[in-house]
Structures are given as C-alpha cells and as structure tokens.
C-alpha cells in the first residue's frame, strides 16, 4: 500500500495563496481593526496620542477590559456566555475590600481567598447551566442582577450604610505583594532609558512615563498563556471541541462538563483579578464597579473573531479587540469629536465584526 502521495495532487484544489491563508485566521479582523483605528486617530487626533505616554494611557483601560475579554473569548469558544462578569468585578471587589480593610488580612491571604470565592461563584454558574441545560445567557443574566445586588447590600452591611468602601490603599501599603497588582513595573528600566536619551524626559529629568502599568503586563501574559493553551495543549483542543459540538466531543472522550465548569471558573477569576487590580489602584471599591463590562468583554471577544455559536475564535483576537476598545475610548479625547461618539463607534464596530466573522466562517468551512 505504499502510494507516493506527494506526487499526486488533486487538480481541482487550487493552491492557497498566503493572503487566503491569512484570511482564515480568526484574529485577522481584530488586527485589521487596530490598523484602521490607528490610521483614523493618526489623522484626527493630536500627536500626543501616539507618544509613549499616550500609548500607556490607552493601553491601561484596554488591559483592564482585555483581561476580561480574553477569559470571555475562551468561554465563548467553549460554547457559553457569562453575562455576570461585570457584576462579578463589583462583587469580588467587595469581598477583597472587606478582607483587607475590615478583616485586615495581608494580600497573601486576601488575594487567593478573593479568587477562590469568585471561582466558586463561577462553578455555581457553570453547574446550573449544565444541570438545567438552559442557555448560559439566561442563567448568567440572573447572576448579573444577583451579584450586583449582593454587592450593594454587602457593601452597605460592611461599611454601615455606604455603597463605597474606602481605605484599601492604607491597608495594602507596604505589603510585599502590592507591586504585583498595582503601580508601574520596570521603573528602573525607564529611568535608565531616559538617561540614555531613548525615552523622552519631563522637565525635571524623570522619564515621561514612570514604567509600564502592571495591568498591561497581566494583560499581555494572559493573552500569551491563553493562546498557548488554546492552540498547543490538549485542553485547548477540548475547548474548541466542546464549543463546536458537545455531543461529538463527549462521544470522542472529551470531558465536556469539566471543560465548561473550568471555563466559567476562569472568567470569574479574571473578573476577580480586574477587581483586585482596580481596587488597589483607586484605594476603594464601590457597587458600580465593572458596570457594563460583561458586554464590553463580549464585544472585545467578538471583534477578536469569536463566533457567538462557539467553537471558533482566538485569544489574540480578543487581545486586539480590547486594544481597539481602549484606543477608541481614550483616543476621542485627543480629537475634536464629542466623546459620546464612543458608543456609536462601538456598536458599529460590533456589527461590522459580526458580519465579517460570519463571512470568514463560511470560508473556513468551505460552506457555499
């Protein structure tokens, strides 16, 4: 049976050009979007947007959203939604605030406890979805309200009537873990670069930016790890399979339930991470934190190439989707436009992305 197949070619299959191959990548739309948005702001915005300081300025909100967006993308590839992540940010923020302020726990205990709490809530979400067989859309919509309400009630309970809990900064001051979750990293590098004249300096000789905000590093690390998991591990294959067709996956021996529950736990943990970072950053937490973030995260994932039906998408796409988001939110302040165009822009972007993704999917599967 030794057939020399290399010599055989099917005359009906055209060889694919590099462009066609690129067209089939799920993240293509998001990368194209970044380029378009960059060109748009290059033309309309003042030059300071694309200085080092300006870039850090729009990457920071992009990073906070992106951490959620990447997790949401993985969950969407696995075939589910989580509409409760925005409320989870508020809820986890409250838990974290209470742990460090009211109970005075050091971060080494407070952070794992907060993440554990969030993971447990994520597991509850997942378990309900799997047990009832209801769409995750509805189940997590319920948790959107439950968690938001619980944060309000909880905050009032722990602060004696206020919906804001202050004093986090004092509580975490000097904790050896604080620099991991707040402030800027690689400050020494930028001082050195400024001295060497590579990075522009302020009038007093300090570099124009004090370092890279840590959330950007978390964001990049998460994008890389998520991409690695999705594309290069068995677990990644299971996520795609679970989202693609859960019956086929489970018939082939993929632990579908474990995959889904883990993904729900992951998104909840991502929300808790954003909560920890932003709460330490501002020094307080309130019940409105993370408002509407669930939709923004899903939009970032969709712009990044995730299909609403699951089984297809990319973490790198969500990474760029979040960057588009950050550029548009912050970028409009550098232009003469009314900032409230932001939402119009967002909706249009989403619509465009969905139409584009649909066309791409047809190309990939060869549907006609």
């Amino acid at each position: 049976m030794a057939v020399d197949a290399t010599a055989q070619t099917d005359e009906r299959i055209k060889s694919e050009s590099f462009t066609t191959r690129m067209m089939k990548r799920p993240e293509l739309g998001a990368i194209g979007g970044v380029i378009l948005v960059t060109i748009f702001f290059m033309v309309t915005a003042s030059g300071s947007m694309f200085t080092l300081a300006g870039v850090m300025n729009f990457l920071t909100p992009a990073a906070q959203l992106g951490i959620l967006g990447i997790a949401a993308a993985m969950l969407m590839i696995g075939g589910e939604f989580d509409l409760s992540i925005g409320s989870m940010v508020a809820f986890a923020g409250m838990i974290f605030g209470v742990l460090v302020v009211n109970m005075g726990l050091p971060l080494i205990f407070a952070i794992p406890l907060t993440l554990g709490f969030a993971a447990a809530m994520g597991a509850v979400n997942g378990a309900i979805v799997l047990k009832t067989g209801l769409p995750s859309f509805i189940v997590t919509l319920a948790f959107l309200f439950i968690l938001r309400g619980a944060s309000l009630v909880g905050l009032k309970l722990f602060t004696g009537g206020s919906t804001q809990l202050r004093g986090v900064r004092d509580a975490v001051e000097g904790d050896w873990l604080t620099p991991l979750f707040s402030g800027d990293a690689f400050g020494w590098l930028f001082v050195w670069l400024a001295d060497a004249g590579i990075v522009p300096t302020l009038r007093n000789g300090a570099p124009s930016i004090p370092g890279i905000p840590v959330e950007i590093l978390w964001f990049i690390a998460m994008a890389l790890i998520a991409t690695f998991i999705l594309l290069r591990t068995p677990a990644g294959n299971w996520i795609f399979a679970t989202g693609g067709d859960k019956n086929a996956a489970s018939n082939s021996g993929v632990p579908v339930r474990r995959v889904k529950i883990s993904l729900f736990m992951l998104t909840a943990c991502a929300a808790a991470l954003v909560a920890i970072i932003t709460v330490i950053d501002t020094g307080s937490t309130d019940a409105r934190r993370g408002f509407m973030k669930e939709f923004e995260a899903i939009i970032a994932a969709v712009i990044g190439g995730c299909l609403l039906t699951g089984g297809y998408g990319s973490a790198i796409g969500a990474f760029f989707g979040a960057i588009i988001f950050g550029m548009v939110t912050i970028g409009l302040t550098y232009t003469g436009f009314d900032q409230d165009w932001f939402q119009v822009f967002l909706g249009a972007m989403l619509l465009l992305a969905v139409v584009f993704n649909n066309a791409i999917r047809k190309r990939v599967t060869g549907e006609r």
Binding site: M1, V3, A5, Q8, T9, D10, I13, E16, R232, T233, P234, G236, N237, W238, F240, A241, G244, D245, N247, A248, A249, N251, S252, G253, V254, L307, G311, Y312, R361, V364, T365, G366, E367
Partner: protein, 258 residues
Amino acid sequence: MTDPIIHMEGIKKHFGNVIALNGVTFDVRPGECHCLLGDNGAGKSTFIKTMSGVHKPTAGSISFEGRPMSFDSPRDAMEAGIATVFQDLAMIPLMSVTRNFFMGREPKKGRFVKRFDLDAANAICMEEMRKMGINLRAPDQAVGTLSGGERQTVAIARAVYFGAKVLILDEPTSALGVRQTSNVLATIARVRSQGVGVVFISHNVRHALAVGDRFTVLNRGQTLGTAMKGEIDAAELQDLMAGGQELATLEGSLGGTI
C-alpha cells in the same frame, strides 16, 4: 476459518412493552466484512447500540475474543476495541482534520507542561489519511471543507488508528453520491485487509454485495439467517429484507431499480 472476535447469541432487547430485538445472533471474524441488512425499523440501530455498549441486552450473551463480556458503557466497548462510526460521525466542521482526528486522545509531549504534540499529530493524520487514499491539502484543513465521503473516511481512519478490532459502520453510504460511495467501499475493503472485522449496516443491497463477505438480514427484530458471499443474490436479499412481501410485485413495475 478463524474464530469470531465478537459473538452475540440470542440477543433480546425490550423497551417497556416494545420488543425491539427478539433473538438476534451475529458474529464478526477478523478481516471480514459482515453486512447487517434490514429495512427501517428492523432493529438495526438498537442492535448496533447493544453491540457498542449503549444498551444492555435484556437477554442473550455476548462473547468477545472467546470470553463472555458485558459492556457497561460505550467507553468499555471502545476500550475493548469496538469502534462505532455513527451517522453523525462525531466530527466538528470548524476544527481541522488533525484536531478532529485526535479529539479527546491528543498525543502529548513536554516534561513539565504537557503540550499537544501538533507536529506528530499532523504527520500521523496525513499518513493515516494517505493510507486511506485521501490526500489532504493540509492537516489544518477544516473538516467542514471535506466531502461527506471524506469525512466518513476520516472517521474510519481515526477508529482504525486507535486500535479498533471491530469497526461498526452505521449506514456509511446512505447519504453519499456514486463516486464517494465507491471511495468509502474501497476504504472498507482496505480496513478489512488489515485484519479488522467490519460490521457494515445498510439497507442498500448493492453496496452490501459490493464489499460484504457474509450477509445477515434483520427483519422485525429477528435475524432471518446468514448467507455467505456468492450464495445469495441481490433479489433474494431484497426479498428477505422486505419480509418477502409486496416487493415482489413492486419489483416488476420498478424494473429492478431498487
């Protein structure tokens, strides 16, 4: 003649007061293609589900490689070496051929972080598909771009690669065109020559005759007997499947086209 890999004797299956199978005897030897023929509702699906561990028989015995055996789940049957390719094929169109091929059974590499060894997987997948006579454009080609026959072949190749001793094919040719059907039949012949026992379920007599070594006809939950290749012709099989009734009269008006 070699001993059967799996031998099922007097299998009965009742669902409440419905008798789906009422005494079915069937066996498969290595390197043969045993066709199970029957019209819709004859009990073919129930029977293969019993064979692949989905249902437990109400009565009857199953022996696997000479030992009595009882499968509690499809997984048990799979581990013993009984692979079933159902009509839905368990394939995900958006995923690549390789990812589908190894779905749930990914080869791993790396000492600390267990990675999906994609290079090895791609190479194995290309090689296995080539053995089945399909030249993939690339291993990362999505399954959705393959034709029905090619998908069927991927599913068969996957089952054989993962060590199937008995391969149950549930109407593999029912939705295919002429060309694709002949490709799938050729694949079955290849698999058989590797020593795998093939159970070919069909209601198409011509497809069965083209590749089968033995033929068992199932009608109303009972086996009507087994015939060797050459002992029976298409018309007789057709009659048996229909229970020897009206078809004889229909035959004339249809001009033997069924």
